[in-house]
Symmetry: C2
Subunit: 389 residues, 2 copies
Amino acid sequence: MGESLTEFRTETTLPAPGGQRGTEPGRAAGAPERRGPIGTQRDGRPGPAEGHEAVMLLERARAEVDPVLQDALGSLPAPMRRIALYHFGWEQADGTPAEGGSGKAIRPALVLAAAAALGGSEARAAAVRAAAAVELVHNFTLLHDDVMDRDATRRHRPTAWTVFGDPDAILAGDALQALAMRLLAEDPHPAAPAATARLADCVIELCAGQHADTAMERRTPREVTLDEVLAMAEAKTGALLGSACAIGGLYAGAGDADVAALDAFGREAGLAFQLIDDVIGIWGDPRRTGKPVGADLAARKKSLPVVAAFASGTPAAAELAELYARPSEKEDLDHIALTVERAGGRDWAQNQAADRMAVAMQQLARVVPDPEAAGGLLALAEFVTRRSS
Amino acid sequence: MGESLTEFRTETTLPAPGGQRGTEPGRAAGAPERRGPIGTQRDGRPGPAEGHEAVMLLERARAEVDPVLQDALGSLPAPMRRIALYHFGWEQADGTPAEGGSGKAIRPALVLAAAAALGGSEARAAAVRAAAAVELVHNFTLLHDDVMDRDATRRHRPTAWTVFGDPDAILAGDALQALAMRLLAEDPHPAAPAATARLADCVIELCAGQHADTAMERRTPREVTLDEVLAMAEAKTGALLGSACAIGGLYAGAGDADVAALDAFGREAGLAFQLIDDVIGIWGDPRRTGKPVGADLAARKKSLPVVAAFASGTPAAAELAELYARPSEKEDLDHIALTVERAGGRDWAQNQAADRMAVAMQQLARVVPDPEAAGGLLALAEFVTRRSS
């Protein structure tokens, strides 16, 4: 896995600035990011490629967004609040405080980084509430997806439905969606209505993505096309990352074309993320991923590399079909993983991820041609496609 | 039942206009409602008490809101659209057209009547999109409540989860909530952000109400207090009727005090509605209600009259506790109903409903002192507390 990600990294350097818009010194000067020089990666020196800048951006986003989130959750009626605080990792099931663990704040960090890239520190500060709303929507979908998928563990803890039951997990999810919209609707910022509409539209796309995912579970891998599984991943993962970037742009006063480019950047980076996540799900190091190696294969998941392998028409694909049809007891998961690899599933996923990241970078360069200003978004996009947990 | 509702009706006439605001001739003249004279009820002549005006208002609301709803649903991704159109009664499960049956449009009619009462025909026309958003929220909660309550029938058809499965019914509900918020957020009307925030806040209250309802199911009727069950009914039923009226007021440019009074009017009318609905659920005519008599008792529902009976401390309450503890096979439901009545449950519910309607009327008179302008809201409130299906 290490090699593949290194390889991937070297293929996805930022294109030379060549967008239609010139560098705007005022914007770059206004950007509040105190980050390492983005150029170091292209120079071959250690830098954001190591993820230091991204980690700093995520921690900063967490620190800024958490108080808004906690205020918002604190306004919920007691039973909804209790489930939400448990889900966010801020309370135990019995209501006693817990040590956090509410996720990496990638989406809020993207909102803030996009606002900063286009509008500097003022836009970034104005977008904190919107960043919290995006995080609430993400968590609403996690609550509901866990109910539908019967997933019992989330962020190393029992999922909310296993603790509170399906109805309460559904209701808490509903309440978090509403809370996200209320946060935005109460925001006097002129971008708030457009951001609300965009976030609501994204929720609809997320629902369609989750529907496609659950519908695919009832079909064999042979019946699923690569286009379908890519479209599903875009709706389920890309849409919210794209919306996060677009909403950050709206808070910086960006025009339609720039907002669309930011959306495309986030979407493509999100797809790259999902491709790499699926690679890690098969070949990753369980000490780093928190997942047992081969768990996705054991569950017969139609992850992107697997569907690509099935679609390859190779002898290995035929062998894979046989292996997937067998009962899963005492099977050799390493052998299945090797078969997916021999059918080209691993290479395809890595190449796709690299292609998607290249498109993401092109979109980013169009809207933020100054690499200094684009650095935060770039660092986050590279971080999510190289994450280890 | 007939007598009780007649009795109830005579107790809930509109209080004499005595609000602080004088009649505004311009507003009354601008009101588009072509309705029968509201005063006829107080004169003892047939009029809105018969529900003709309300039926007309509901039909008009349905006719105005349905095209907006159908447009909005048409914008959903295909699988979500299919479930939503089935739920609304506009399509069969296989996607062929169906004959409608999407409910009585009470909530949209309240939005429009409140807008008209305070802002005349212009405000009414401006509020159609908001009325559709309120109806979408109502239907989102129905989709989710049916999943949680395992209700198999809704509007005389199999519920969505029985046809499409739990995940798709949950996702379609999520999408309808988002669609409601998107409709409002895209509305350029200056009241739209406040209406969005209010509707989102209402969703949170509806979730808390449904939580309270499901939590009560796990307790015995003795363990449930009247205050608890009234609070649950207010959150589950009153909140959205109140929000519908408040949102109509916002679209008429009403100030905070008037919006609060409209909310209170809708809430109290909603509670009266729930009380009467529970009375009908025990003593109603199944040919008129569509429910078998005693179904609520057979299901051991903790409806308002039952909880009141348990709380009465009468010998009949003790007898009721024994009856409720027995297995439900071959029981005499008429005898249980009579015991609830002897314990005072029926009288209590009817008196509470009358009290709530009186408060509703007071609130309405405060904000719309002109009975002519208030007529639409009054007719709808009386209609819902006298409904037979």
